[in-house]
Subunit: 264 residues, 2 copies
DNA sequence: AACTCCGAAT
DNA sequence: ATTCGGAGTT
């Protein structure tokens, strides 16, 4: 028996929205402390890791470790029924082992909608993600990261991220033109930190990624105002969105090993 | 000679928009008191009934009963020419018996557009619609009805409407999942009634309809904030949109006679 | 995932 | 009135 209630269905909607272009199946692992999910994208290039601590829920009860796997398409269909500020109860009953029940209740409590989603068996490949020490960590507004990826995608399908003590640059160059975006060390103490970029560079990094995937990741911007990029030469980038300080949505993407990554 | 002037062409646009997916021909019957229209949809499953009392018009003159029939496609083409708040004069002259003339004039009176639409003979099957006593009448925001139909259409092509003293439910269930939506008797006196659902249930009703058609009906939401559903076991549902208290657009749909309609 | 429509805000 | 954003649809 698993039972948990989110104050707002919108959280789940945003999460599913953010991963739907990457993953077809959503294998949720429920433990007494959290719901989590790990999945590789269809082409096994990117990894999605979600964690929702029980602190995010109004109510959370999980007797034993349970796996709730559904197709993302069905999940979307179910969540479409919810208004953003409906509360969202999630129930899984061992008796009816092949379905999960969502109950959406609107604020005024005069509408209640039960939606049943068929479950499927997903061989969830729980990948051990090593605790990586990164050479550079960049924290910036998620909207800026989204715009950066969107803009640079116009020039090529690769983005080169370069971090050094002096600053961080994002580059993309193709036949028709190119662009280099430089973020300088944010000008110290200001009244308003939102909008600022912060970075902590231990060692210089120069690494290339597929913009397409970063663009997919950037869709999670609605989950958090800030995003953290953790990078290291020849190591997958980690793109992390904090979820109300009680969880996260992380994406990992291996670097491209090719040509223009060695340009200074 | 028929001559009538609507203050806003938008009304006619909305009406035609709401019925264009159901009917191909629009046989308007004009009498000294009102313009009306009755038509079955192409597959003879649904019935559309429109009534526009002369109170809706700035000017209304109809010497004798006249039939103005045009193809909906042509009507749409004509109405596309109008801006929403153009006034709309409709003229039919016995001399030019094969056309109807629309004249759109904008608010500032600095543009006037005549559009002629060719008429066609439609064997208008004026169906006597019996005055039905319904077991249950549900009145709700038209936007909610629209969302309900849209959401439930994702699970199957049938919707089961159930009304009892305790509440009203809309259900749809299919292979990948299903949904049950419960509206409770709206929690009494509140400051704001918009958004509320009201129902009056004399006898319990449990009846099944094709969601596809209800979805078509629901497009009329722009005509009125509220919609009234009148239902009775084994009797067509009536879906009614009031038009500025001087007319209505009603849709009728026979229930599906199949399987899951007998579930309590 | 891209396009289009509708509604809301400036 | 125009522009922007969000939502729904193909």
């Amino acid at each position: 028996m698993f039972e948990a209630k989110l104050p707002n269905a919108s959280l789940l909607k945003k999460i599913v929205d953010a991963i739907k272009d990457l993953v077809n199946d959503a294998p949720f692992d429920c433990t007494e402390n959290s719901m989590s999910l790990q999945a590789m994208d269809a082409s096994h290039v990117a990894l999605v890791a979600l964690k929702l601590d029980n602190g995010l829920f109004d109510m959370y009860r999980c007797d034993r470790t349970i796996n709730i796997g559904s197709s993302v398409a069905n999940l979307i269909r179910a969540l479409k029924c919810a208004n953003n500020d409906d509360s969202c109860m999630i129930r899984y009953n061992d008796d009816e082992g092949d379905t999960v029940l969502f109950t959406f209740v609107d604020e005024k409590r005069d509408r209640s909608q039960d939606v049943t989603v068929k479950l499927i068996d997903i061989d969830s490949e729980q990948l051990g993600i090593p605790d990586q020490k990164y050479s550079a960590v960049i924290e910036m507004p998620s909207s800026k990261f989204q715009k950066t990826c969107r803009d640079l995608a116009m020039f090529s399908d690769s983005i080169v991220i370069n971090a050094s003590k002096g600053g961080v640059t994002f580059k993309s160059h193709g036949d028709t033109g190119g662009s280099t975006l430089v973020y300088n060390s944010s000008s110290s103490a200001d009244d308003d930190d939102s909008g600022k970029i912060f970075f902590n560079v231990k060692e210089d990094v120069n690494v290339t990624f597929s913009i397409k995937y970063l663009n997919h990741f950037a869709k999670a911007a609605s989950l958090s105002n800030r995003v953290r990029l953790s990078i290291c030469n020849d190591v997958p980038i980690a793109v992390e969105y904090n979820i109300e300080d009680n969880g996260y949505l992380r994406f990992y993407l291996a670097p491209k090993i090719d040509d223009d990554q060695n340009i200074d």
